[in-house]
Symmetry: C2
Subunit: 199 residues, 2 copies
Amino acid sequence: MSTPIPSLENLIDHFAALPGIGRKTASRLAYYVLAMPEVEAKGFAESIVMAHSMVHQCPICHNLTDTEQCGICKNEDRDNSVICVVESPQDVNAFEKTREYKGLYHVLHGLISPIDGITPEQIHIKDLIIRAADDVVEEVIMATNPTVEGESTAIYISKLIKPLGVKVTRLAYGMPVGGNLEHADEVTLYRALTGRSEI
Amino acid sequence: MSTPIPSLENLIDHFAALPGIGRKTASRLAYYVLAMPEVEAKGFAESIVMAHSMVHQCPICHNLTDTEQCGICKNEDRDNSVICVVESPQDVNAFEKTREYKGLYHVLHGLISPIDGITPEQIHIKDLIIRAADDVVEEVIMATNPTVEGESTAIYISKLIKPLGVKVTRLAYGMPVGGNLEHADEVTLYRALTGRSEI
């Protein structure tokens, strides 16, 4: 074997620790970084440190922000009677891209998952209940992913919020737009059928 | 749209600049880095700076190293009568993994490619000619990739080295081990046929 270069191995290890990056890709990325001009490599390193120190969770909705409160929570044009509950900050971006939703968000930063040892206390459910108890809130939309963990988290939270007299809704299930009936799984197709609407 | 966070966007840009990393993957990696413990994120950033400052090219073979000369060039057990010419440091690792090759290497750091504006002067050909001119060198193995650029670079170099009285060889072409005749392209199959050997 070629003599290993510790600093290079260390860089490969760091890349390989990222999700979806295997050892071969990590090695390719590390060699690419080494071939960069020094100023670019330093810029990359600084961007990691900067982003990590600047970005934090909004104290209200737990979305990521670099200001005290996030842009959505402090925007007075948003409808504060609706809260959309999502798993991660990326989900907020997905909804914002539709440009249709004008309410607020609440980011759980995880889902209840006994198998992975994630209990309701470890995600931001308590804060959500406190927010939902505010008289101004009329509806909480459970927009967790349609997976086992997403479903059970949605049900768990809805049981806590309903007694507060707040309407709790769930995203519609059905065929994705542009989807193919032939490739749809049975559960999705069944849900699309039972949730059908008049045209 | 959600208010953009400049430091996060900057981090995403840096990830997206890496080869094979699209915008969506870059975003996923950036969010993952933000969710890391601070010490881990700093470690990642430092590993980039460290690797970039420690690792440099060996003055003899241009392989990457963190010592003055690379481990292969300074290893006296290696056969210095053979030089294997490759495109990149990764190729050296690939050969070393076979544990069969005991000679030296020469890393070109690129291939001649007029389309991309890469001329023979921009890759380490001149150093290779000087090395090959040494009386101790008996064979130069052209191990560039079997692509158009790899082929033409191999031919270009062989024309410069042959007049020095040094044997120039090329890697064998043929079926990859474990390959499938049905899926082999015509050129590979033709080469496998013309290069056949008695059993």
